[in-house]
Symmetry: C2
Subunit: 348 residues, 2 copies
Amino acid sequence: MTFSLADLALPIVQAPMAGGPSTVELAAAVCEAGGLGMVAGAGLSAQRLGEEIVLLRAATTAPFGVNLFSAPSPAVAPEVVEHYAASLAGEEGPLGEPRHDDDELHEKLALMVELRPPVVSFTFGCPHEPTVDRLRASGCAVWVTVTTPREAVYAAGVGADALIVQGVEAGGHRGSFDDVEPGDIGLLALLQLVAARTDLPLIAAGGIVTGRAIAGVLAAGASAAQLGTALMRTPEAGTPAEHRELMAEGMRPTGLTRAYSGRTARGIVNRFQQSHADAPSAYPQVNHLTAPLRAAARAAGDAEAFNLWAGQAYPLASDRPAGELVTELANEARERLSEVAKMVEKPR
Amino acid sequence: MTFSLADLALPIVQAPMAGGPSTVELAAAVCEAGGLGMVAGAGLSAQRLGEEIVLLRAATTAPFGVNLFSAPSPAVAPEVVEHYAASLAGEEGPLGEPRHDDDELHEKLALMVELRPPVVSFTFGCPHEPTVDRLRASGCAVWVTVTTPREAVYAAGVGADALIVQGVEAGGHRGSFDDVEPGDIGLLALLQLVAARTDLPLIAAGGIVTGRAIAGVLAAGASAAQLGTALMRTPEAGTPAEHRELMAEGMRPTGLTRAYSGRTARGIVNRFQQSHADAPSAYPQVNHLTAPLRAAARAAGDAEAFNLWAGQAYPLASDRPAGELVTELANEARERLSEVAKMVEKPR
């Protein structure tokens, strides 16, 4: 039996947060609490991904998901990336080689067929129908991240089992198929537009940090809420200390930027993000280009020079243990729904 | 007794849609159905506003609101507007005089004190405390439109009775205090952030077009949903035919623009909006400047040259009569909340 959202005790899915915040410990904690933990399969080798899946299975028997990035768009002209690289000359640290690769996608897909995680979710594009068929034949449910109604219709057409509907509020990368149109629709509007075009189960993502917001997306038609930013301050997450501190302060706005990766992403505004507002759409080349800069800034504790991914409601994120937090948020959502259903029932 | 949202039969407020869509007939239909109809007090004379209030009171005994624009920011340098005017030289029709005025705000406030509508809502800024006190002493509830948590805290501080929380999904003008920071937060994220800073009743606005979205914002903590775009295709609305047609087609994206008014607003993307992406922040001068252009384009039925305000979920707007529609949406919201409360109650 392919995994269904109805199999979860809690209507909560962990967002994949590649590049640091996601850990096996975090996924295990979400799984053990009754939500769906997620292994962020991007940005690490297929071998390491396989190890993380084995480690997660050793930590929990509950279902979980693995997120992969779809194949990137064709490479832009090298001059575009060279021009951006030149503009980074004043930054501390060496630049990386701006290579265009597919993040070992084929090896990772083969690994999915072999290891059969209950869910494989995709970001940055939709897998082709044969890939979807192959994964489903292996017993994996296939989820696709969408940011527009058009992407939703396309993903439904290739046989996706569910759609992750990502509103513009979301922290980290826009999951859009094409970064030229990164999708700027607010979550509540997008949920309505997508639900009008497909009957697939929808997982709502973007700016959901409280039990009330979980209640909100469920009432608006989602089958579950995907939480990323909400979990970034938990002790199980691999979020850097300086990043956690700025989240806790909650004073700065977030903004969309291509400065770090060459793909549109939302982060807490800092110096690097502001200084390089002219970054081109060139993923993954820019991502590789800035990788050593980001690593150096993280090592130095300089929060002005590495990516501070966060969704728009980040000031409300809690630092409680992940399992406790997920349980509590689900309880709050349940209580709120019961309360509001009674409130509107009573004749005024 | 000052008006309270609990006095409404339905948790629905009509959005003020100055400049055409709002009519006395629309407000009366929403009021009669049990929602809160709204008179759009901006862009018409104080005398005409008084007449509309009298006409609405003749049509319904139910409570209603009046929306006013707060005092504008100081005028920008004339060269800024002259430069923009020069860029409009290729457009069909004469340009208007780019005057800086306050839309008869003082006369309109005096009218409110005299006519005592149950609710006076403000957009484009927060009234000063003495103004709030004067209105409240006259029996008007004072509502303030906010687009950031900071604006919400400020409005609570001057004694607002409720806050209209406007997400970035919303059609028409951003209700921000200052157009230099037009507020880009998605509705669901903003509701959470504002609720964390104030206990005032919240009216959720932006991209709410279906019963499920109403259910969503109520579950997320709002006391009511404010609907604008959802009502623009109703027969009672004054929306131009070409505007209605493009809404019904639902094919084009919306985008934020200052091209028509000099203040950030969301509309269905058309030629004028795309051609004048460099419009300055200069309200109301640019609004007066383009007024004859917009009127000429409307008269000629040229939907590429007048403002097509619409929220991000506009393709789902219905053309049913407003009273019927509002009743149906409220019923759908009620049913959905009851359904989802049961769904999460049952142990999985």
